[in-house]
């Protein structure tokens, strides 16, 4: 039973070492362009761009598992949200310094991911999906019911952002720096021997096992690391939004992350930003006309699954005649 058919393209050969000159130049240009955005955008649009970066990181963390380990997680929205909750709680209820709150949020998300991972690595395919979904729902249920700590349905408001980052543009740049760092880390990760092992597991678990690899251990570490990155995104989100409620850990959030990873192209890693940009833009255009965003999101999911499961990049790649490579 093959499950992992979302990835349509064989990945480029890995292990080609560090940054080649050309990639470095392209990456630098993209980052420079992103850094220049606040100069041309309105402050509202800068807010959207910040959101794209944050959710792009979440989608990338999902893609590490979906694209490289063949395990699609529907629990990452919850891991992301745990970090958001912890950051908001620490900065309002405990009055901790924003940096400390940020670190604690990431630690909490990583721990949660480790627990999720312990349970989920034994499952594969649809079972993995179900299990991560159920775990995410449990987090949502706890956030909704444990109102003394989480504020229940009303959520919590916070001034989680440190004073120096109060300005919209400054905050955007700091998120951009954070995004560049974690993106680079994730890029290195999937190209490392560890990442190659994950790909091996995706392609054939039994082969990797017979080659002597400890499959559950690799998946566990992969899940935990991926949760760490989702936690970074969640901590940024706390500072971006200054508010958290159960909808941050709700299924729809995990679903959005997965959809972004899919739209950007599973296994492309950086495609996640394109997916995030597409979904965030869609969300904003739609909310100008109707309040039924969730309905549109559901429809988008159905349409993408039927017509373009390989994502926008994959679709374009299939349509444009190949001249490169």
């Amino acid at each position: 039973m093959t499950i992992n058919v979302l990835t349509s393209e064989p990945l480029p050969p890995a292990g080609t070492g560090g940054l080649s000159g050309r990639t470095l130049v392209i990456a630098a240009l993209i980052v420079a362009a992103a850094a220049a955005l606040p100069l041309v955008l309105s402050s509202y649009q800068v807010g959207l761009a910040t959101e794209v970066l944050i959710f792009g990181v979440l989608a990338m963390s999902i893609d590490i598992l979906a694209g490289f380990a063949g395990r699609t997680s529907l629990g990452h929205g919850a891991i992301f949200g745990i970090s958001t909750y912890v950051v908001v709680y620490c900065s309002t209820q405990l009055g901790l310094h924003p940096a400390v709150a940020f670190a604690l949020g990431v630690v909490a998300a990583t721990l949660a991911a480790a627990i999720f991972g312990l349970l989920a690595v034994r499952a594969s395919g649809v079972y993995f999906l179900l299990l991560t979904l159920a775990l995410g729902m449990i987090v949502w249920g706890v956030c909704l019911r444990w109102s003394q700590v989480t504020g229940g349905e009303n959520g919590m408001r916070a001034e989680a952002r440190p004073a120096i980052l109060a300005n919209q543009n400054t905050f955007y740049w700091s998120v951009l720096i954070g995004t560049v760092i974690v993106s680079f880390a994730m890029w290195r990760l999937v190209r490392s021997p560890f990442g190659l092992t994950l790909r091996g597991i995706r392609d054939s678990e039994s082969r990797m096992r017979s080659l002597g690899y400890n499959v559950p251990l690799h998946l566990f570490i992969g899940f935990t690391v991926s949760g760490f990155f989702a936690g970074v995104a969640g901590a940024f989100y706390a500072m971006f939004n200054n508010f958290v409620s159960p909808s941050t850990v709700a299924l729809a959030n995990s679903v959005e992350g997965v959809l972004m990873a899919i739209v950007g192209g599973v296994g492309t890693l950086f495609g996640s930003f394109i997916g995030a940009a597409a979904i965030v833009t869609l969300q904003n255009v739609v909310s100008g006309y109707t309040e039924r965003w969730q309905m549109i999101l559901g429809l988008a999911f159905v349409v993408v699954m039927i017509f373009a499961p390989e994502g926008i990049i994959g679709k374009l790649r299939a349509m444009v005649p190949r001249k490169t490579r």
Binding site: L6, R122, Y127, V142, F301
Partner: protein
């Protein structure tokens, strides 16, 4: 824990059984994890509520809920899922999209208030059971759960259709090769499983009430039941429902705010030893 609370757990388990048995039938035979099952439950409840309010008959409400949800199941299976057949992951994610859509649609149609399906007069009040007074309607739910279990068991084990379904769970290709139109059996199972979700919504809507996030809650419980019981096993669903139902009640009594963690426990313990669930088999 008192006897009263035990009964609460059992009646909740009966409801879970009705909902989760539909889920596991579809999962077992069609290999489709229908994540819109919770939304179908909620829709069934709302439709049942509307029909009962208009006609005043609980029975017509139940039938209406089952028919309406079977119709939605028809559209889902024939209109959408047919395009992604044979690809598990795309199927699951598609039903997830449908769940979000239906969830929001229900909010548009019925609004965000919570409703309770009106109970027929016969089932009002409470009866004296073993030294405690217990709501009559909840005992009816327990009975309904047992009836559905017996009915399903007879259907699966004593009829030709049931034999085809069981054969289909084991090896759909061989069944097809022996001249049976397995697609029709698949479609029936999908509609029947959906109708059970609708029936569950109707039954549950009368004592748990219906509100916008009820679908996610029931879906979580159903997932836990199926993860514990194993795919496609009727007995597994029954045992899973009992475990989850009773544990959830214990949890609510002892740690009201963290009840979700209590169903988490057995799932953890079980997965460590049997990743496919208590009664699950390798496909």
């Amino acid at each position: 824990m008192s006897f009263f609370q035990l009964l609460n757990g059992l009646t909740f388990a009966a409801l879970l059984f009705v909902v989760a048995s539909g889920f596991t039938l579809i999962f077992g035979l069609l290999r489709i994890v229908n994540l819109s099952h919770g939304a179908l439950y909620l829709f069934g409840g709302y439709v049942g509520f509307t029909v009962v309010s208009k006609t005043g008959s609980f029975v017509i409400g139940g039938l209406g809920a089952m028919l309406a949800i079977a119709a939605i199941g028809m559209v889902l299976d024939q209109g959408l899922l047919r395009f992604v057949r044979g690809n598990d992951l795309r199927q699951v994610l598609l039903t997830l999209g449908v769940a979000l859509f239906l969830d929001d649609l229900a909010l548009v149609i019925w609004g965000g208030d919570s409703f309770t399906v009106p109970i027929p007069a016969v089932l009002h009040g409470s009866v004296h059971v073993l030294g405690t007074y217990y709501p009559r309607y909840r005992l009816f739910v327990l009975l309904a759960g047992v009836i559905v279990f017996v009915g399903l068991w007879l259907l699966l084990n004593r009829t030709r259709l049931g034999a085809l379904i069981r054969a289909g769970v084991d090896d759909a290709e061989i069944v097809e090769a022996s001249g049976v139109n397995i697609r029709r059996v698949f479609l029936f199972t999908f509609l029947f499983g959906s109708a059970l979700a609708g029936l569950g919504g109707m039954i549950g809507g009368a004592f748990l009430s219906l509100y916008p996030s009820a679908d996610a809650e029931i879906l979580t419980f159903s997932l836990a039941v199926v993860i514990i019981g194993g795919r496609g096993s009727l007995v597994g669903v029954a045992v899973g429902s009992l475990l989850v139902g009773v544990l959830n009640t214990v949890g609510q009594v002892m740690f009201p705010e963290l009840a979700y963690f209590v169903i988490f426990g057995p799932m953890v313990a079980l997965l460590a030893f049997r990743p496919l669930g208590l009664f699950g088999r390798v496909a």
